[in-house]
Subunit: 381 residues, 2 copies
């Protein structure tokens, strides 16, 4: 597309500052090179094949996906995927099989014999073999096997099952939101849990070639997690207000914002914009500043309240006097769920829109072709 | 489409129980007939033209929309719309003008001279006149003029501006979540605020033919709001866990749920399903029960935590022993934002899927035709 002015975009619109995004990619690529870590960014954040391709071009070894939809669209531009989510159920088994029939490298993370069986069956039907990463619970208490013994048992089952082989382990340190500096013991505890599973696997004759972990909040401390070979940060491509709040990026590294229009100043002390929970997503920031987002150019102006189509800007700490029709950029607290609410990302450089991408990986299954219905199924009232 | 078994649907999937939904529509239609109120349901909840048509068939006088996208898709099946949101900005002015060139009745709610000017300009370009409802703040402190004098001034401006005319007032009692019974004074206070504006308009020779209000939490008390002529409940078509929590519906009147699959039982005391914040939406229930949703068939099992693709079910109060692969239906706390996360609704009757509809009104502007870009805009790293 030709470059066009930001002023012509309807609002709310999801904007990506390309200069900032590219700097974010270069920074993480350089960090990973310096520390000998593979970089496998999680594409759940942007769900956009062109951005996955940009990550690979910047040095990513491959990408991570959570859903089969993400896998299907990312496979169009990236040839090395980690499905970091167990494909459970017949519909997913069939989608995985169809995906494996395409020419794409794929490993799968899982924590149960049932998921292992589904992956193996899909792989056999596709006539190939899939690498399995055993998911470990390293303290988040969400998913993942809880003991070294369980990890060994599931790894052995993978080795003994046709269609799959044991490729390593994965974990997600989502319980660590903020580190109190280089001395914070949280990463030592995590490393200890991880090492006990790695040692047990080694002793069982099942050494793990891949040890995949990492998150955006722990990103710049990844080298302190002993034994880890690859990281999967997602948010880092754009960053967001929560990432800034935990110290894992600066405000000037926030590359994503939602362009919004002031639609009402009728109630004193506030301005209402047309970006609500259906554009920003409701993810409240606990602690400092609070609220649901802040203005990119005036971070002292916080989104104090959200309705579906209304964001209420608190003017208490600002001398800004907005008028109906003014346009602002809102940085959401959690970028991944905001992106997921938009059909498209608008790429901005030097104040102009220079590209746009469909957020092709959002949603579940392509609706087209399923056959929409009219109202003929309703009973007469 | 032919009837198919629920078991074949991939998860997460948004389900509508047609029997329950139809009963919900009949109930509100009957209530409105009994109390002489017009029923103009807000389509933000379902965003689905076939369901708007079902509401009109059940007795709705027309429907309410919040976005121009909703207006554009609802205009395909309903000929009487209220745009309950000010169209601010040139892109929206043009979309409104194009909509007005179609054969559809439309009134617009607004609270500023700027929005009034945009509506009038769009109407004049379309060669017709649009009715304006002045939005009043009756206590929510979100949008709406705050005094009877402001209401009169804006109504007079509407009468004096070519392209628009004063058609009445609207308000949203979103600050009233729960009523303490028939004696709760909240509705009397609201009625007092409303009556002072209505009296001022009457005195100024600008009586309001339409007085539009109402919400799902106050739905069954609408007859106590003095002077109101029409109600705009949205959630009521499906209901949700928050509506049940405030006493505005029974659990057996919840017509919407998200079909989900158990993907992990690795961590004791819980089960993890594949419906997270990208399927249910993060709207925490304060107070009783807490959490982010509950199982339709086992309401004692609450969604205790959400990640983007994980919902953590708390098994502490249940003897249910889920296994990987089990399927459940989750009732979200806030149905409107959950529907907005799905491409399609699957209509279920007697355990079979009998219809499906694209959620056509979600999103902002049709992405098709804007021209997706490849990666050529990136600077070389």
């Amino acid at each position: 597309m030709n470059s066009t002015s930001l002023d012509t975009l309807d609002t709310p619109a999801a904007l990506v500052d390309l200069d900032r995004m590219e700097a974010n990619l270069r920074r993480v690529a350089e960090y990973c090179r310096a520390h000998g870590l593979a970089w496998r960014p999680h594409t759940k954040t942007h769900k956009t094949p062109a951005l996955a391709a940009a990550q690979v071009q910047a040095g990513a070894a491959g990408v991570t996906v959570a859903t089969l939809r993400e896998a299907e669209v990312m496979a169009t531009t990236v040839d090395d995927l980690l499905l970091a989510y167990p494909p459970v159920g017949e519909a997913k088994r069939q989608r995985l099989r169809d995906l494996l029939r395409r020419d794409v490298g794929l490993n799968v993370g899982l924590d149960s014999p049932e998921a292992l069986g589904a992956v193996a069956s899909a792989a056999r039907e596709a006539g190939r073999e899939v690498g399995v990463l055993i998911e470990l619970d390293v303290g988040m208490r969400r998913v993942g096997v809880g003991t070294p013994g369980e990890a060994v048992a599931l790894a052995r089952l993978a080795e003994d099952t046709a269609g799959v082989h044991f490729r390593g382990v994965m974990f997600y340190p989502g319980h660590i939101r903020q580190l109190a500096g280089e001395d914070d013991p949280a990463l030592d505890r995590l490393s200890g849990v991880l090492e006990s599973s790695l040692a047990a696997l080694e002793s069982a004759g099942l050494p793990a070639p891949v040890v995949s972990g990492g998150s955006t909040p722990t990103l710049w401390h990844s080298h302190r997690i002993r034994g880890m070979t690859e990281i999967r940060p997602g948010t880092n491509i754009f960053n967001d207000r929560a990432t800034e709040a935990v110290g894992a990026c600066g405000w000037e590294q926030c590359a994503y914002s939602v362009l919004a229009t002031v639609v009402s100043v009728a109630v004193p002390g506030q301005a209402v914009v047309d970006a609500g929970s259906k554009a920003l997503a409701r993810e409240e920031l606990r602690g400092e500043g609070g609220g649901f987002g802040a203005l990119l150019d005036r971070p002292e102006v916080v989104v104090r309240a959200l309705s579906e189509e209304h964001g209420v800007l608190d003017l208490a700490h600002s001398d800004w006097q907005p008028r109906v029709g003014d346009r602002v950029r809102v940085v959401p607290n959690h970028v991944c769920v905001s992106v997921n609410l938009h059909e498209a990302l608008w790429a901005v450089r030097s104040g102009d829109v220079v590209a746009s991408w469909e957020v092709a990986g959002r949603g579940r299954s392509p609706y087209a072709g399923r056959g929409a219905s009219d109202g003929s199924v309703f009973l007469q009232a």
